[in-house]
Symmetry: C2
C-alpha cells in the first residue's frame, strides 16, 4: 500500500481536530501552568475600599486648595489610620488623618497629601505646602477589578500574576482542563531498559525518556508503558493499554521495515480507526505515522532518537498545547530567535528540512552554526540549541543570511538579565 | 539614615556573589530541568557497535564496486541480521546479508546497500544496481559518543535530549546542584489569608502566591511561611525560620513607612549582616531592600503586587538561575521579542522604567501596547505579556519605534506552530 506524504501544513490541519478530554476543579496552589476551562468572573471589587497609594495624610481635597510653599494650609491631625482597619473616624473640615500606603481612607476624605509635602508644626497640627485634587493618590474600590468583570478567559494558561488576581479575588479553587495524558511506548527487539548493559546489537531505551521529558515540559502527564518487542500481540496489547488510560499514544521505533508494517497492522486491527498520515515530507522524521482510533490520536514515531525528538518538537508540542485547551492564537507562542547563518547549507531534497543549529554570540548578535552529523546521532541534538527550517521550496541558505531559529521547548531558567 | 539608590547594573553585580548551596545525586527520572554539578564523562561508546542507518543489505563495499543499472553486481543472500542480536555470521566474498535500520553489521561487511538499489532474483540471490563506498549507511561504534568524552558540562540545565544522552549511556543517576529553596513571607497588618473574606481595609495575600509561582517557574523550591503582622518579634522569628530552612528569604510588604523601617530593624538585629541595597533606581519597585545575613540573600520587596512581581521578574529570576548553578553565559537565556511600539511613552523620572506591555499581531509583526493604570493595580500585569525597559537615560519612546519586549517567565505551552 502506498501513501502520499503529507506536508507539514497538512499535519498542522489534521491535528486541529483534537480537543481536551475533560475538565476538573483544582486548588489554586496547584493551578500554575494549567489552562482555564471556564471564564473567571469576579464576584468582588478589588481592592474593595478606597485605598491610599502613598504615605501621607488623608484630607478633603477642597481644604487644601490654594496651599503653596509660601501660603501653606493648616490641618488638625485627627489621628492615624491603622493598616487593615476600617477607620471609624469621619473627618471634620480642616482635619487630616495620617495614613500609610495601602491604608483605607476615612469618610469625608477624598485624597492623600504626600508626606513630602507636609510639615508637622506640633503634635496636633501640620501644614501642607501643595494642594491635592480629589482622588489624588487614591485607588477607588473597583479601580483594579470590578464585580462582574471577566478577569480571565477560558483557554488561558495561568501565569504567576494570574494566580495573584485569582487569590486576590478569593478564588481558592479553579476549573481547568485535564492535562493531556500521554502513553509512551518504545518498540524494537534491539531496545533494552536503561538499567541494563546492552549486548552487542542492543541499545538502551532513549526515546521513552526524551519523549517523557518533552511531555513534562509541555505541561502534559506522560506515562511510560515501557519497551515492546516486535510482536503483533504484544504491541496490540500495549496500544490497548495506552488507549484505555491516556488521551494519546506515542510509539517510537519501528524504523525497520517489518516493525513499521507491524505498527500499521496493529492500528488496522482496531475498529473505528483512520490513518491520518503515513509519512510526512520533512527531514528528519519522514516515516512518521498518525492514526485516529476512537477519536484518540496515535503517533508512530521513527526509532531514530533525533528524528523522534524533532518530530515531537515540531508537531507534538503544539499538539499537546491544543490538547491542553490553550488558546492557540497567542501571537508569540513559539519562540523564534533571529540569528545570522554561519555557513552555507544545501537542501534540495524536496522536504521541509529541520537543521539542528547551535547559537553563539558574536558582536552582540546571535550566530547560528549548523550541527551536522550522520543520521541518527543523538549528539547532534546535544550540541544544538534549536532548529532551523529550510522549507521544501528553498534550495538552501547562504552564509550571513538572517534566519529564524526555533528554540527547543524548555521549562526553566530562561531569565538571565 | 539615607542610602543612595543602587542602579540595576549594580544590583546585577551584587547578586553575582551567590552560589548554589549544595549538590545531590538523583535518579534520572527526576532530572529534567535540574542543573549538573559535575561534568558527565561517557564510560562507553555509543552506539557501541557498527550500526546500519538504512534498511537494505550489509555487504563488503569492494564487492559492489562498478555496479550500475546496466551492469548490476550479484550477491548471495547469506541470511538476515536480527534486531538486537549479534550476527554471528561472517560474510564470504560475494555474500550479502539482509539488515534493518539499527541492525548490527556482521564481520567482513563494511557498508549497507539501500533496499531501493537491490532487486531479488530468487530466494538466495539479489542484484544491486549501485556501488556503495566503505562505511556508507553505517555508524561506527564511537560515532555518536566515544568513551572518555565529556558529553555534558557542569552547570548545564538538563533538557529532554540531554536525558536521552544520559540514559543512552547508562547513567541512571546524576549529580546535580540542590534546587534553590526560597522562604516567602507576606508582611502587613492589612494582609489576610486568601480563604478569608477581607474586612474593609484588608486585602488578601496575593504576593505569597505570585512569588511562589514565579519560583516554581524558575525551577526553585518555594516555601510559603505565611503572613506576618507588623510586629518586630513576629517578623524576626519568621526571618529566623526562613534563614534556618531556605537559601534565600523574600519578604513582601512593608510599603508603609513603619513596616519598611521595621524590616530594616529586623535585618539589623542579626549578627553578620550587611545591607547590600536600600532602594533601586527602577520603577516600579524602588523601595526594594537587599541584605546578606550569614551569606544568604534577603529581599525586602514592595507590598504592591505589581512592584513586587516586576522586581522579581527583573532581578530574582536571574538570581534563582545563579543560585541553581546554571551557567549564566547562555547567549539567549532571557527571551526578548522585537515589536513596534503602538504609542508614545514618556519617561523622565531618572529611573529605569519597566512598562507593562501587551503584544498583538499586526501585518505579520508584533505590536506592543503599553498597559497603563494607577500604581499598585494588579490588573496591569493581568493584561500584559511582558516588560519594556525605558532606561534612566532615555526620556521616552516614540510610536512606531522598534522595541525589545522581555516576556514574563513561564513554564509551559510555548510550542504552537
Amino acid at each position: 500500500m502506498f501513501f502520499k506524504l503529507k506536508t507539514s501544513e497538512e499535519i498542522v490541519e489534521i491535528l486541529k481536530d483534537f480537543e481536551p478530554s475533560g475538565e476538573e476543579t483544582i486548588s489554586i496552589e496547584h493551578a500554575l501552568g494549567r489552562v482555564l476551562s471556564r471564564d473567571i468572573i469576579s464576584r468582588e471589587d478589588l481592592p474593595g475600599f478606597r485605598r491610599a497609594t502613598m504615605d501621607g495624610y488623608a484630607v478633603f481635597a477642597r481644604d487644601s486648595f490654594g496651599a503653596t510653599e509660601a501660603v501653606p494650609a493648616f490641618f488638625e491631625v485627627a489621628g492615624e489610620v491603622m493598616m487593615g482597619k476600617n477607620p471609624t473616624i469621619s473627618l471634620l473640615p480642616g482635619q487630616a488623618i495620617k495614613i500609610s500606603t495601602g491604608g483605607m481612607l476615612p469618610e469625608n476624605s477624598d485624597s492623600v497629601v504626600m508626606l513630602e509635602y507636609s510639615r508637622p508644626l506640633d503634635e496636633k497640627t501640620i501644614e501642607i505646602c501643595r494642594a491635592v485634587s480629589p482622588l489624588e493618590n487614591v485607588i477607588l474600590p473597583e479601580d483594579d477589578i470590578s464585580r462582574g468583570e471577566c478577569v480571565l478567559k477560558k483557554r488561558h494558561r495561568l501565569r504567576p500574576q494570574d494566580l495573584g488576581v485569582l487569590t486576590g479575588l478569593g478564588f481558592t479553587e479553579v476549573a481547568v482542563f485535564t492535562r493531556p495524558k500521554v502513553a509512551i511506548i518504545s518498540s524494537g527487539d534491539e531496545v533494552v531498559p536503561i538499567h541494563t548493559a546492552p549486548e552487542p546489537g542492543q541499545i538502551r531505551d532513549i526515546n521513552s525518556y526524551t519523549l517523557n521529558a518533552l511531555c513534562l515540559n509541555a505541561g502534559a502527564e506522560p506515562v511510560m508503558l515501557g519497551i515492546c518487542n516486535d510482536n503483533f500481540n504484544e504491541l496490540k496489547a500495549m496500544v490497548q493499554q495506552g488507549l484505555s488510560m491516556a488521551d494519546t499514544v506515542w510509539i517510537s521505533g519501528g524504523s525497520s521495515v517489518g516493525t513499521r508494517d507491524m505498527t500499521i497492522k496493529v492500528f488496522e486491527s482496531f475498529d473505528n480507526m483512520e490513518v491520518l498520515a503515513h509519512g510526512i515530507s520533512v527531514s528528519p522524521g519522514k516515516p512518521t505515522i498518525i492514526a485516529k482510533i476512537n477519536s484518540k490520536a496515535f503517533f508512530g514515531l521513527p526509532g531514530h532518537v533525533t528524528s523522534a525528538l524533532v518530530i515531537a518538537e515540531i508537531f507534538l508540542v503544539p499538539f499537546l498545547t491544543r490538547l491542553s485547551g490553550e488558546d492557540p492564537s497567542c501571537p508569540f507562542a513559539c519562540q523564534h530567535l533571529e540569528a545570522e547563518l554561519a555557513r552555507n547549507i544545501n537542501s534540495s531534497n524536496g522536504r521541509d528540512d529541520y537543521i539542528r543549529v547551535r547559537l553563539h554570540l558574536k558582536d552582540g548578535g546571535l550566530v547560528a552554526e549548523p550541527v551536522f552529523g550522520k543520521s541518527g546521532l543523538i549528539s547532534s541534538l546535544l550540541h544544538a540549541h534549536g532548529l532551523l527550517l529550510i522549507d521544501r521550496n528553498t534550495e538552501g541558505l547562504y552564509q550571513g543570511q538572517k534566519v529564524k531559529v526555533r528554540l527547543f521547548s524548555s521549562s526553566a531558567g530562561r531569565g538571565i538579565a
